[in-house]
């Protein structure tokens, strides 16, 4: 009796069948007949299997023909926006240092839209191996010119051939990376005849071995057949690569510092226990006297409330909105806070959108609001239209005359700056506005008991917001109280 054992066959690193692939064909990949992506996928799978790192591999699939690589590789997968694989890979490899990160990219993805991400990751020597498929065109979108398209090569978008005078010369990625200090291993291979594929296999194995040994950044560029877009047969495309592409993109190893590079230790992972993260982000409240289960039953926030805070940069607009959001968080509401500001650190316009709700918040965008806080005339002109017909407007009287509003709208003015100046810190004006808001809520929306609770939770939120600067907490609380008192006296 003779028995058979598989010598070359489907790698165990591939799913079998490809359940994630839609449609009836679950045995094959989606690539065109004769495509180099499949050849390279197989080499990578074989190497992952050989070095035993499947369990901890994270495969980052690009945008391009390989966008569905996660249909095939049975390991961790992340699908990323166009060109962002090395950026996401940096995050994955730093946040989960025990993982082995593979960034897989096409020439449009790596050398055009994502070139900065790529070259910076290479320069930082991120712990990842990059497999770069250079097929001289944008495959997925139908064969447009890529940074790697050869001079005079005809593509969809270079119908008369790539004109180096207007389109520049093809980008030599390996050579550029070879100018950097950090990368450990750089090799260019071709997925053509058997001899070249054996070399490619060796290079892929080296890059995966370096990955296993956590040696840093490895790059394998594979000149890869795209017979469909190049409108060639398998044999013609191999010849194109071997005779034309390799002339411009010479094959071979440009750098191998694997031997001199010591195997990296797994750096300690950053804290990832969600409870610890919560602790880091939101330190325990002090002095609230209430447990975390405190719930305010006032009905005002049963409905989603949308708030727009607006003014100019430096007025504390974003932090005002943030304190509001903190206040709601401390009372266990759902909250969103979305800032938007000009390029200037000071001056320019600033605004933020805050949503408070007991229900889930579907989108953080605010285009109509229940409450508008306008600290400048320009801000009111810009956002006034967003105020709902029954909305509340709070404005700074030092910035404008009392604005006209619609009949159902309520308008309240406060000289927040004067209050803040009286307290001795002009930056506290935003807390005075919060005080006014607490008074308005207390008068129009809350029972006295709830109003007292909101006053308290506002001061808790201010304390929390400024916890890093204890000296200003007191001033801000003073401004809050003054704003609240002044508004209350206007409201009687």
């Amino acid at each position: 009796m003779s028995t058979e054992k598989v010598k070359f066959g489907r790698s165990k690193v591939f799913f079998d069948p490809f359940e994630r692939r839609p449609g009836p064909i679950k045995t094959n990949m989606h690539y065109c007949p004769g495509c180099g992506h499949g050849i390279l996928h197989k080499l990578i799978a074989e190497a992952i299997e050989y070095y035993g790192i499947q369990e901890n591999t994270v495969f980052i699939a690009p945008v391009g023909c390989a966008v569905f690589a996660y249909y095939y590789f049975n390991c961790g997968s992340i699908s990323v926006p166009h060109g962002r694989a090395p950026a996401v890979g940096t995050g994955a490899s730093r946040a989960t240092p025990e993982k082995y990160v593979i960034s897989y990219q096409g020439d449009g993805d790596l050398a055009a839209i994502g070139f900065n991400e790529f070259i910076q990751a290479a320069n930082r020597g991120e712990r990842m191996s990059v497999f770069f498929v250079n097929n001289s065109n944008y495959g997925m979108t139908g064969g447009q010119m890529a940074p790697t398209t050869l001079p005079n090569q005809v593509t969809m978008t270079s119908p008369y051939g790539r004109n180096v005078e207007t389109d520049g010369y093809p980008v030599k990625v390996c050579e550029l990376v070879n100018a950097l200090e950090a990368p450990v291993y750089i090799e260019r291979v071709a997925l053509t005849g058997t001899a070249n594929i054996i070399k490619a296999r060796k290079a892929v194995f080296k890059a995966i071995e370096n990955l296993r040994d956590r040696k840093g950044f490895s790059l394998v560029e594979a000149l890869s057949p795209c017979p469909v877009n190049l409108k060639m047969t398998a044999e013609q495309v191999n010849e194109f690569i071997d005779t034309k592409m390799t002339k411009y993109f010479p094959l071979g190893m440009l750098r191998d510092r694997s031997a001199e590079t010591p195997a990296g230790k797994v750096p300690e992972a950053p804290v990832r226990d969600p409870e610890d993260v919560k602790q880091l982000l939101f330190t325990a409240k002090e002095g609230s006297g209430e447990g975390p289960a405190t719930v305010n039953n006032s009905e005002i926030f049963n409905e989603e409330r949308r708030i727009r805070v607006s003014g100019f940069g430096g007025q504390g607009i974003l932090s005002l909105g943030h304190t509001l959001a903190d206040m709601a968080r401390l009372r266990h509401f759902n909250v969103s806070w979305m800032p938007s500001y000009g390029p200037e650190q000071r001056g320019g316009s600033a605004s933020c959108a805050v949503i408070l709700s007991r229900k889930a918040i579907p989108s953080p965008l605010v285009d109509s609001c229940d409450l508008l806080i306008a600290m400048t005339r320009a801000a009111l002109d810009k956002f006034g239209y967003q105020l709902k017909d029954d909305g509340i407007l709070i404005y700074d009287t030092s910035a404008m005359e009392k604005p006209a509003v619609k009949p159902g709208q309520k308008v309240f003015g406060l000289d927040a700056l004067a209050i803040a100046n009286r307290i001795g810190n002009a930056k506290c004006a935003n807390s005075a506005v919060l005080g006014a808001l607490a008074a308005i809520l207390g008068k129009f929306a809350l029972t006295p008991e709830d109003a007292a609770d909101y006053r308290k939770v506002f001061t808790e939120a201010i304390t929390e917001s400024f916890r890093k600067k204890p000296q200003v907490v007191e001033q801000n609380i003073a401004a809050f109280n003054a704003g609240c008192d002044e508004m209350s006296s206007q409201l009687v």
Binding site: E4, K7, F8, D16, T27, G34
Partner: protein, 75 residues
């Protein structure tokens, strides 16, 4: 020691008919078949699968994970 024996198996329905394997085989075992498979491709065939020497050239040329399998036969 007797030379090891091998067998090539081509899964007809997994072949996309790109023909990269045909020139790769040093024994010229692979040729274009006559049947269209379920994917609509004219699949390749190996008429004499036991003449395979197990070099794996065709396997590595093939872009599909399981269209070609090479077995080693243990007596």
């Amino acid at each position: 020691m007797a030379a090891k024996k091998h067998r090539i198996r081509i899964s007809k329905d997994e072949c996309k008919g790109c023909r990269r394997c045909i020139p790769a085989c040093p024994k010229k075992l692979i040729s274009v078949g006559k049947e269209i498979n379920i994917q609509g491709y004219l699949a390749v065939v190996a008429e004499n699968p036991f003449d395979c020497i197990g070099c794996g050239s065709c396997f590595h040329q093939c872009p599909e994970p399981g269209a070609i399998t090479i077995f080693e036969i243990e007596e």
